[in-house]
Amino acid sequence: MGLSDVLARWATSRPHTLLVASPGTTATRLAVERWCRGRGAVLAASPNDADVLAVTEPADGVLASAVEELWRQMPDPRAQVRLAAGDDVECRLDQAVAELMTWRPETPPTREDEWVAGRADDEADGHDMSNMAGMDHDAHGAHDMGGTEMPGGLQMADRADDRDGLTLDAVPVALGPVLSCWPTGLVVDVVLQGDLVQQATVRPFDVSVVEDDTWPHHPAAARLDRAADLLALLGWAAVADEARDVRDLLLTSPDDESIGPRTDRVGRRVRRSHVVRSALTGLAVMAGSDARARLISWLSDDDFPIAPAASLEDIVALMVGRDLADARLVMASLPPDLSTLAPRRSMSGGHGA
């Protein structure tokens, strides 16, 4: 019918893409971002906001189940794309969008509530309720609330003392493995009271890291990428986008004359900002440098920026006692080198598109 086609054409003119980039697949990730720029698409923050799920191979370990979970949560119309190293990223993603365009709603809808169906199977071994992309509600399987059955069969959060002497609900939440501006594949189990992190432990890392030489050959672009992530977490979209533009320019035409002035402008705006100063000063202090000092060094053309060697346990220990926003900033300002955690795996097929 004509109206459905018109609606479908408009609806797919701006596809929201949820990108799950396995650690190390930088070239493919940048190709997806480039496609989004060219197509007018955006990267989605949560599966409920996404139409296309783009996964770079190999998403194994905890990422495999995470990807299934995300796929289940995405509303129709949806499309999934698995991108290997040598693939033509643009072509595959365009095909996915064409799939979206041809989708028509079914009446009655045949996609059942997978959570209800899955729950019947999981009843025996203690529920694993996941109602969020990358933030899981782990139910206390062994805890008996004395017969109070909460709606949906979920357990109520346990209560614990907090730092002000109150007794508040303590909710166990898993940060990761898929979260924006977060090292993909890393899972940090935190216990939140309100939005304060009371405990934080890191799960053993079981995702294989791909060998990729994009960042080692372009250290300035790597620094800008990290800075852009931190700025995006601070909510400063304009400056984060500018940093990403300069990063892309560094990778495509490194001799462009506008790179230096633009980086300087970004650095100056960040240095002068009072909000950034109050948000990052004294945060994530490691080896004498705090988050603000590291961010400024990333945005300068210093060839040896501040990069303290910190183990994951140290990074996660800095999160305790902070609120969720600060905990995310801690992880973004001390990006861990995931390749040291898991055996490296090299992808055949050369560089991605």
Binding site: P75, P109, M132
Partner: protein, 309 residues
Amino acid sequence: MTIATWPVWAVIPLAVVLCLAAGLAAVLDAAVAPTRGSQPSTPVAETARLLRQTRRTTPAPDALLWRIGTAGPLVTALLMAVVIPLGDHVPARMEIGLVWFNALDVLLWAFWWMAGWGPNSILALVGGYRFLAQALAYELPLMFALTAPAAAASSLDVSVIVGAQSELWYVVQMPVAFVVFLGCLLGFTLWGPFAAPLAADIAGGVGTEPTGIDRLLLLAGRYALLVVGSAMAVALFLGGGAGPWLPAWLWSVVKTLAVLVPLLAIRTRVPLLRADRYMAVAWTVVIPAVLLQVLVVSIVAVAGGNGGS
């Protein structure tokens, strides 16, 4: 200027006009605050996309409160618009129109909180907590900023306040109240520096879980609130529809756009403010400043009244 009321049935076309105005605000937003991949036709594409999207839910949500929360902002905007004059006509002339506006923005506390608590999702809940913290910071300054034009005009009727600005616009007489009103408008629409409840670091916060039509209502409600808040700022501080040559309703529209476009442009250009950082500033700097403003306005009003009579 005398302000007349429209007939009762006029609220229906006016509601349509407000929704279209919200769409226009979204188009202007894409034009003045571009992010990667946004263009002026973006709102049409996003609306089409959300109309096509199926609704998803979470395990054991509080469905009633969640639906109320996501539809709340748009309904609040429609109700607020009822007392705001467009040119020299107003949908409903209430003697306590200003209190009506204030009561509705207090209702927004409930709606944004319910949108965060309803889906039974930790990230949405954290968004709700963040909203409550920032609401504690902006609500009192907003109430005192609304008192200033009422004190100057000796009336709570928005139409009378517009009429009382025939000689001098209130923005000249009470600039602090104007600026504080605009800041609090950003606060209750979760816009610009006050968008922490919808931030990317909590995967969209209050906006993580709604899909399809719920999401459309929530996002459209935000734009509608911005439009209505700008129109209120025009009525309270910028003289409503007063101006030479053009008809009064066109002046209202032009002035509303003049307030709306800079507010839209702020969105990407400042980082997010966190409530725990600025709470002290809100209570120790902003509230005394607004109270001083109200004091000055009251003294001027009393002295003017004594001098005139």
